[in-house]
Symmetry: C2
Subunit: 811 residues, 2 copies
């Protein structure tokens, strides 16, 4: 079937609902809307048993009414089909501040009272709910982690559809309904996430049912999608590959009929798509159904206030009637509005929803407010992980052979994938191979439901049942991964370092969700950590140039709670394996791993790597010559290239200044640097001092912007002696060598730093300093003398000083 | 005309081109493609006068071929219509690494040699160009600032269309052609930026002509838009509100005919739209034309290499044939490919393009490589600014009256808008009114070309000729503003503080562009600063909750070059006016201003505000009691709420501990804190010490995350005594009071901090400390005793201590 043959689908308002069902559904919907309005307005008289008086009205009116009635309407209709077809369904609320719609349904279904017993299903509980809404420390106006049934807060807009798809992947029995606000729909992330339908396999995955809620207005503006022509809108969604059903109007009975019919059509389509695909084994590329729900903003609320249009206008976005305490006319409008729902026909005298209405909601875990998929920790199974030691790079002698850290990781991830074909996925914006993780394709190709051409057989690695997720949208990938994790599965996102900033704000929001859900909602069980692998790092983005050089994501990461943030900079391939294994086992963290794709020196054999990564920070005794004594200077580093240059600097100094006592400290777990009072991984001051001394100069060669090390160490005893090198925004179309030299993280500059900071060397090593300066000039000249070549940092190996502690020795 | 009536438009391949014209255009195109390939491969023998030998091949092959031939094809065809219709047109290259396509055309048009004379239009210059491409310190593989005619680097993907619209606004005679890569088209920012057509007024603005370049592949994957059905693609773009013309194929002569015809159709449509709108004064909502160019990736390159498909496949994304130095067969393929362009028919013996081809390019400023719009500083006119003093809030006595900083600013911006109706715009995601800048609508409503309803007349403030830009896409707004600035105009973007992180990565990229264009390309003249106003700040996002609390953008800003970054935290309304005036006059910076929208205490009258903002940091002598002596303690603050609490703390201490000598320092210009060796605004150590002392405790109350102050001050003499309070990720649905207390930025905690840090108070003020602790508890209790109210920070005024220096006195 082509699109052209597929006419605009407006479901016939056939009598899907019998009159009694319609009456009861409408009553249930009125109960929801009554609660929504009550949350915004009432601090007393919750059932309106008395005439509404000013003292019943909250002192400060807060909350968002506009999106609520359309969402409650949708929820009530979803409940009908959940019961009718025994559906396993969750609900994602895209519009920003629509929490009252979700909370009211959670409360009416009983799920809310089960978790928060004080919000009982009676007059007292209802009043408590009203009072708690938007009250300090209590209920937010978004679907925060405290809201049962939610995996999507919606405080920041744009990620509802990608979250929905993440939840649906590998959940063949699940339908994820997602209400998309028409404001949200204007964001970039949302606009491209509609294309997620080309990555959903009807055999293996569940279904996503979007309901685009065109209520027409944002805070103070119309929405674009509500003000283009209906035909254009239809084209747009057919162009996105969906089959839209339109539900439009404002008359409740007619709308109920339309919505019921539309949902029947959608479920019929979903079942047909899944049955066909699952029976034939051919996924095809389904044009999944969706609903365009065009209903008035603030539907059923006051039509006009003070002569201004309110219902079906932006004025109903938040609180449609202000000053109800002080303005008698406004109080009258509010009372009339609240009474229009006829609460006395919905709740009994005790304040409990009537039994004939209660039975409209599904029971137990079929309730969208209690579906276990929305509390992913309940379903999460740990990964079946291969022994990462099996993928170790052999290291007979440290810093003598090279291996690509991410390529090594790729071999491990291939088997992680193979052993977890139901609940692990890898996510990257068209960069898995570029980041050298291509071995993963041996376990599974990339997901691709769009057209496949014969030539793709030659290396494109795409298939409808692939498990590697690649689309050129960091937002969509991150959203998919978050949805996947929050519903109990596992994954890893990898990207070029500079462009991880594209999802800065998504990181912020996920970190905030995680902190609250981990620390404040005990009923939410731990979910897998969000694992972000940053590769194609700044120091090797020489030929891609300045735009590709930005290691600042770590600064952002470290602004969030110590309870959930972890940063790892494994110095080599074996350390990366050890770190990755740890991260994939962990829960409720954001793990950020920085590891490059180019071949880098390997320092530690697997056993040493495990020990080193477990400690997170440590002296490498084979590097320095400070055994048994206080050193003259400490050289430290975090990051792969930075470690190579730090070691090379130590080697130069040991060769030329054999009497200088140097200690070398490598940092894998960056938070080790923070005080233990600031971060659970932090070292005590005593431990920190024992590594970095209390008064000796420390030269720290850091992967990122240098001040992050100061941020982590400014309270340390020896902070005033810590001198940090790192990226300081000096770059261009460069070579690794010049990039290092310009930012002074190269071996020669580091050696000069040491000389400058050890007082007794000021005079005695003046000659060496001059030599080092010449080396800088000559190494650039040497590189260029190679003609049109692009000079790498010179190949180099650890020189194995006679008399050193054995490289494999203990520290 | 409705969409449905508007059939798929495939321009007839009528003979738009006469055979001779076609022959010459094809030759010009071959010359471009030859140069593109030469840039990737050749370090000698640039005209292939000799057989190709290994030593002619670069040692390291770098660059991206895939997108080049489609882009050169487009450029050559745009040249034809520029000449034919004397068009004023610029070119934006969306696909990431397509610089060779642009550089080759710049070079052939002569614009390149005019700026870089050593790249002369002869064999020597050509060889220099080839060698410089992707060579360290020289030509990048994106359209960096060094590339004439470019306002869009494309290192990070997704912003080409929004940049194009920004360039077109208020440029009625300009056509902005923008080639959109089909990889780029998958990003969120690009996906929503197609809707920009609802914000372009055909009377007042120019035209944007998108060419969606479907070459089918990204680095290693097919692209979505190339693998959906052609009908779907057509629907998608009609749904986005465009009129797509399709050009599809691989046979050059036929493609030339098609492209010429399509461009004729597009220009006919553009002219018709503009003529109709400008004649009638009715802008309508045009369905602007666009081109879908479906051509093979790596078109005209090697079809196969080693049995693998290369042309029309992802294998031609970067370097289509590797190892040409060492693999004789590969060398042969490269030579055959290069010779297929018949360079001897294109260039004379000297290496200059034949005259009959040269004349195909437009001349002078009609060349897209030399169009002044792409070097916006050449066209930029300073704003005609009203005297900001006229908008001052009266301050008779400091800290006794309140004013909303942004509302005050709004009155000023209204007149800025009125006096600059051709070259100033305000950008915000549906938040100008929410951020209290609504007075601007008195000068001009919001731009809105989509449908307008009668009820909009009641306060919606939208009109087709509005100049305030609101769409719920921070990406699109920021992209518009960047395009607007880079073509020589002025603007200001404002947003909720937490959500400015959505454009973190765009900030990074613009900052990098600005640094390079300011410091390294002297021929680019200064453009207006990128002005970002952050409002609805963390400290007043109490009821919106945790998701809306993130002041970390400043951390990100400060990672970029000191040459172009500026951060201002005006403490009150008058200071904001002074800062805004300064920023709107400035060029080549990113100015980030943090100012809240709620009523805040006003501290300085206009004259004092001007003096204070000019200094950027200073002692407020009416606050402390340290006149003429070294203080016991320094209290400092940056930010509005933070200043109020700091002052309140000083007042408490002065009342209870009159013998304690306190100095108060206010910081407006945050970079004053950095050493002058780090930032041009930095204070010398001597000046810093004179403010903050060398050894007295400093309590610093900061708007953002506290460590930013440490980052800026860690090298200062007195750093170890600087104790910073700020947001430390403690928040919820809160009140301003509790938010302040939880993060310990409130007056009582600050007073306790002082007591804890002044040794002689340890015992003597123990009683006061207990009292302060009680105040914290009681002020929360007091707030809650107000019932359902949402406690604000208690109202407070500066108590005017007897004997103080007069508030308006000099400091």
């Amino acid at each position: 079937m082509t699109i052209a043959q597929d006419d605009q689908r407006q479901p016939a308002a056939a009598a899907v609902l019998d009159p009694e069902e319609l009456r009861r559904m409408d009553a249930y919907w009125r109960a929801c809307n009554y609660l929504c309005a009550g949350m915004i307005y009432l601090r007393d008289n919750p059932l309106l048993k008395e005439p509404l008086r000013p003292e019943h009205i909250k002192n400060r009116l807060l909350g968002h009414w506009g999106s609520d009635p359309g969402q409650t309407f949708t929820w009530v209709h979803l409940n009908r089909v959940i019961r009718k077809y025994d559906l396993d369904m969750i609900y994602i609320s895209g519009p920003g501040h629509g929490a009252p719609a979700v909370i009211s349904n959670c409360y009416l279904e009983g799920g809310y009272s089960e978790i928060y017993p004080e919000k009982s299903q009676d007059e007292t509980g209802m009043l408590g709910l009203f009072r708690a809404f938007s009250f300090p420390g209590q209920l937010g106006s978004h679907c925060t982690p405290e809201v049962p049934g939610s995996i999507h807060e919606g405080g920041e807009l744009g990620y509802s559809v990608s979250h929905a798809f993440g939840a649906a992947f590998d959940n063949p029995g699940l339908i994820v309904s997602v209400v998309v606000g028409d404001g949200e729909a204007e964001t970039g992330p949302l606009a491209t996430s509609w294309h997620s339908n080309k990555f959903l396999n009807p055999i293996r995955d569940g279904a996503v049912l979007p309901i685009l809620h065109l209520n027409g207005y944002k805070i103070a503006n119309p929405t674009l999608l509500a003000r283009i022509e209906p035909e254009e809108l239809e084209y747009l969604f057919k162009g996105y590959g969906w089959t839209p059903y339109v539900v439009e109007g404002d008359d409740p009975p007619l709308m109920h009929e339309q919505m019921a019919a539309a949902l029947e059509s959608c479920l019929r389509d979903i079942r047909a798509i899944q049955r066909e695909a699952r029976n034939t084994g051919e996924p095809g590329r389904p044009r999944w159904p969706m609903i365009i729900l065009r209903s008035p903003k603030g539907w059923t609320g006051p039509k006009q206030v003070d002569g201004h249009k309110v219902e079906d206008f932006w004025r109903s976005h938040q609180v449609p009637v202000s000053d109800a305490q002080t303005n008698p006319e406004h109080l009258r409008v509010v009372e009339q509005w609240l009474r229009s729902y006829r609460p006395e026909e919905l709740f009994d005298r005790r304040g409990t929803l009537l039994a004939e209405l209660r039975e409209l909601a599904p029971g137990g875990e079929r309730r969208m407010s209690a579906n276990p998929h929305a509390n992913g920790g309940r379903l999460r199974k740990p990964l079946d992980l291969p022994d990462f030691r099996r993928y170790a790079v052999p290291v007979d002698s440290p810093a003598t052979t090279k291996a690509s850290p991410t390529e090594t990781l790729g071999r491990y991830l291939c088997d992680v994938m193979r052993q977890n074909m139901q609940n692990f996925r890898l996510f990257s914006p068209d960069e898995n191979a570029s980041n050298r993780l291509q071995d993963v394709y041996r376990a599974s190709p990339k997901t691709w439901l769009a057209r496949i051409k014969p030539e793709d057989a030659d290396g494109t690695q795409i298939a409808p049942d692939g498990r590697v997720m690649e689309m050129l949208s960091e937002h969509t990938l991150e959203g998919w991964l978050e949805g996947y994790i929050l519903t109990g599965r596992h994954g890893l996102f990898n990207t070029y370092e500079a462009f991880v900033h594209i999802i800065d704000s998504m990181y912020n929001q996920h970190a905030k969700w995680l902190e609250k859900s981990k620390l404040e909602t005990r009923w939410r069980l731990p979910v897998s950590s969000l694992n972000i692998l940053i590769s194609s790092v700044v120091w090797r983005q020489d030929h891609n140039g300045f735009t590709h050089q930005d290691p600042g994501f770590l600064d952002l990461v470290s602004n969030k709670s110590a309870e959930i943030t972890r940063i790892y900079l494994p110095p080599d391939a074996n350390c990366l394996l050890s770190v990755a294994d740890h991260c994939l086992r962990s829960t409720d963290y954001v793990n950020v791993i920085v590891a490059d794709k180019q071949p880098h020196l390997a320092y530690l054999d697997m056993q040493d790597a495990i020990v080193h990564c477990a400690k997170g920070i440590g002296i490498w005794p084979w590097v320095g010559n400070d055994a048994g004594c206080e050193p003259d200077v400490v050289m430290a580093s975090a990051g792969d290239i930075l470690t190579q240059e730090a070691l090379a600097a130590v080697a130069i100094l040991r060769e030329h200044l054999p009497d200088l006592k140097i200690r070398y400290v490598n940092v894998v777990d960056l938070y080790r640097l923070q005080p233990d009072t600031e971060h659970p991984h932090g070292l005590s001051d005593a431990d920190f001092d024992s590594l970095f001394t209390k008064d000796k100069p420390v030269i720290f060669n850091f992967h990122g912007y240098p001040w992050l090390i100061h941020k982590f160490t400014y309270r340390r005893t020896n902070h005033s002696n810590i001198h940090v090198r790192g990226y300081k925004e000096k770059g261009n179309i460069d070579t690794p060598l010049e990039l290092a030299i310009q930012n002074q993280v190269d071996r020669y500059n580091l050696a000069i730093d040491v000389i400058n900071r050890v007082p007794r060397l000021q005079d005695s090593a003046a000659h060496l300093k001059e030599w080092l300066k010449r080396q800088i000039i000559e190494s650039v000249a040497y590189a260029y003398s190679e003609g049109m070549d692009r000079p790498e940092i010179r190949d180099w190996q650890w020189p194995q000083f006679p008399g050193s502690i054995d490289a494999q020795g203990q520290d």
